[in-house]
Symmetry: C2
Subunit: 140 residues, 2 copies
């Protein structure tokens, strides 16, 4: 069974509004890039991948479009140390495993039924809004 992750996503399949955000031509192209090639690209990666199709697109627009989609919960922003932010269309709760040998970033989920709060010693009364985790290592 072939993964759908890397199939081309025609513009027609991206609606002109998602979660209250108007999906302009620029946003549709950017979102399609994220869906087609789920390697957690930086804003600049997205810009380089898109500029053949939209030659007038500016990098500032890539930043503001990505930011708008993050704020509307359409995509997620992922940071590794001090490196440039990366972007991910996977909205399921997940973290990231960074293979330092290949540079590839893998999505990682909790085993089913497990929540991070259950395995941590939290300060009493803590209400968790958001969880992030990152692993670094290699595949043997």
């Amino acid at each position: 069974m072939v993964s759908k992750a890397f199939q081309p996503v025609p513009a027609s399949e991206i609606p002109d509004e998602i979660s209250g955000l108007r999906m302009t031509r620029q946003r549709q192209h950017i979102y399609r890039i994220l869906l087609q090639h789920r390697d957690h690209p930086t804003a600049n990666d997205v810009f380089m991948r898109i500029k053949d199709t939209l030659p007038n697109l500016s990098l500032a627009t890539v930043y503001t479009c990505l930011d708008a989609m993050v704020k509307h919960g359409i995509i997620r922003q992922v940071n590794f140390d001090r490196g440039p932010s990366r972007f991910c269309p996977n909205l399921a709760e997940h973290g990231h495993f960074h293979d330092v040998t290949t540079g590839i970033i893998h999505d990682v989920k909790f085993k089913s039924g497990i929540h991070l709060e259950d395995v941590l010693d939290l300060p009493p009364g803590a209400i968790i809004k958001n969880v992030e985790f990152t692993l670094r290592g290699q595949l043997s």
Copy 2:
């Protein structure tokens, strides 16, 4: 029982070498700041706290001293999103809970006996070198 975390640490108690790194006067002062006030300060916070005692100290030196101590495993560098790096002398495996109401950052440990690898669906053959996690929320 009173926590030892915020007791003053006299210069005499910091050895002149740790993990192979020569602890110069600047590094001792910086390290003492981190030990005395464990609130995960930024490089600039450290700089402001120290410049009365060492008026010639430059911010660049604070950065290089912190970096040297991180590379020698004496302290840890902690990043929250795109904010400035923060520094932590707690070497035990732990993550961070960021209280968005107060801005206070709390150290968080796993419940005893639990390892992140045990609760995650990792890619087969993954060898984990390093784990980081961050929670955001508030204390009710």
